[in-house]
């Protein structure tokens, strides 16, 4: 369950909690810090790590309010999509739940690179929750 602090990702987390309560599945909330190639992968990214911790705390609070528990994980990677898929494979998860906003470029709906990568490469099932179009 990747979270980036956006409303779409937190809505998707809430949905995951509702669904997982029935099946009693574990939810992993993952925040990925994308590290530019100009820095080593294990570079200290204090500001980004702080923001990640805040987003994960928020995710945990949302889960608690829905009477569920999530375990948060902060990752550093070159590419967010790649990190999400790798983490899913490593943990053997059954479903990745992605929240995406409604993005339009030149009046064309656009699915972000990360969502496209996960949809294409994740070996497990992927659920996509798109936010409502803002008026």
């Amino acid at each position: 369950m990747p979270v980036d602090g956006s409303q779409a990702s937190l809505d998707a987390l809430a949905l995951s909690c509702s669904l997982a309560r029935k099946t009693k599945n574990t939810i992993y909330a993952v925040y990925v810090i994308e590290v530019a190639r100009t820095m080593p992968l294990d570079a200290e990214m204090t500001a980004e790590a702080e923001r990640g911790e805040q987003v994960l705390s928020r995710a945990e609070r949302i889960a608690e309010s829905l009477d569920y528990e999530v375990s948060g994980e902060l990752l550093q990677a070159r590419d967010i999509g790649d990190a999400i898929v790798d983490e899913a494979v490593e943990r053997g998860v059954s479903t990745i739940v992605l929240g995406v906003g409604h993005q339009e470029t030149l009046a064309e709906f656009e699915l972000g690179e990360t969502a496209q990568y996960v949809l294409k490469n994740a070996p497990c099932q992927v659920m996509l929750l798109r936010s409502a179009i803002e008026e």
Binding site: A36, R37, T38, M39, P40, D79, D82
Partner: protein
């Protein structure tokens, strides 16, 4: 070590794979999207789609912290540009370029590329070694460039046959490190060692003196051995380049 490989063809792919296996951080830069996907599938997130000659791509790729840039595209010009910009703009400590046309080797060296690798030249040297008279072969270029180990076969008609090493006027900073006789016996040279016909001479020499060294070791008497007044040459005797042998 962070190594950037420019070009994701067969050479680039296998090179990246070996470097990754050696626990190095590797990034392959490749223009072709299909090749990028193949590399990513096999090797993971180690590929960047882009032009390795463009400064913007180089910036994103992290040339500024690279320990080594290896340009192995099928295009000599691209390899030259990648390595030269890596060297000049990003101060990459070591640049290695693949050369497809051996004639481009000199210009790569002049422009400061540390090491050049030419499959064509390597195959030619293997063929030439079988020929009775083969030119100088470059065996190794030292890190940082400038110095290399070369092999020269001494023809029977050479002016240096029968002469002691101390009496041969070699280019400055050129040192004979090993002689291999016709029967394959190696000899560690001293200043009194005599050069014999058909000896394989292994020498360390600055790149710019390579041709002069070859002329000295292969030219017949009255050939191109220079006089001691030439500023590019050492002097025989105690002050000459063979002092360490004494």
């Amino acid at each position: 070590m962070y190594a950037i490989v420019v070009g994701g063809g067969k050479v680039g792919y296998y090179l990246a794979r070996e470097l990754i296996q050696g626990n190095n951080e590797v990034l392959v830069i490749e223009k072709d999207g299909a090749k990028c996907e193949r590399i990513a599938q096999d090797l993971g997130d180690v590929v960047l789609k882009g032009d390795g000659c463009e400064a913007a791509t180089m910036e994103v790729a992290g040339f500024g912290r690279a320990d080594m840039v290896i340009a192995v595209t099928g295009d000599d010009e691209d390899n030259l540009v990648s390595c030269q910009v890596a060297k000049v703009k990003f101060a990459v400590p070591r640049t290695i370029a693949r050369i497809n046309n051996p004639k481009n080797e000199a210009i790569f060296r002049k422009l400061g590329i540390d090491t050049t690798v030419s499959a064509t030249a390597a195959i030619l040297s293997q063929i030439e070694q079988e020929l009775p008279e083969h030119p100088l072969m470059r065996l190794l270029t030292f890190k940082g460039g400038g110095l290399e180990i070369v092999e020269v076969k001494v023809p029977p008609a050479s002016a240096v046959v029968g002469r002691r090493i101390r009496d041969v006027l070699l280019p400055q900073q050129s040192i004979i490190v090993l002689l291999v006789g016709q029967d394959g016996t190696p000899r560690v040279p001293t200043s009194d060692t005599t050069i014999q016909a058909e000896d394989e001479v292994l020498a360390v020499t600055p790149t710019e003196n390579e041709e002069t060294l070859r002329n000295i070791l292969t030219s017949p008497p009255g050939g191109s051995e220079p006089g001691s007044s030439d500023p590019g040459y050492g002097r025989p005797g105690p002050a000459g380049p063979y002092e360490p042998y004494r």
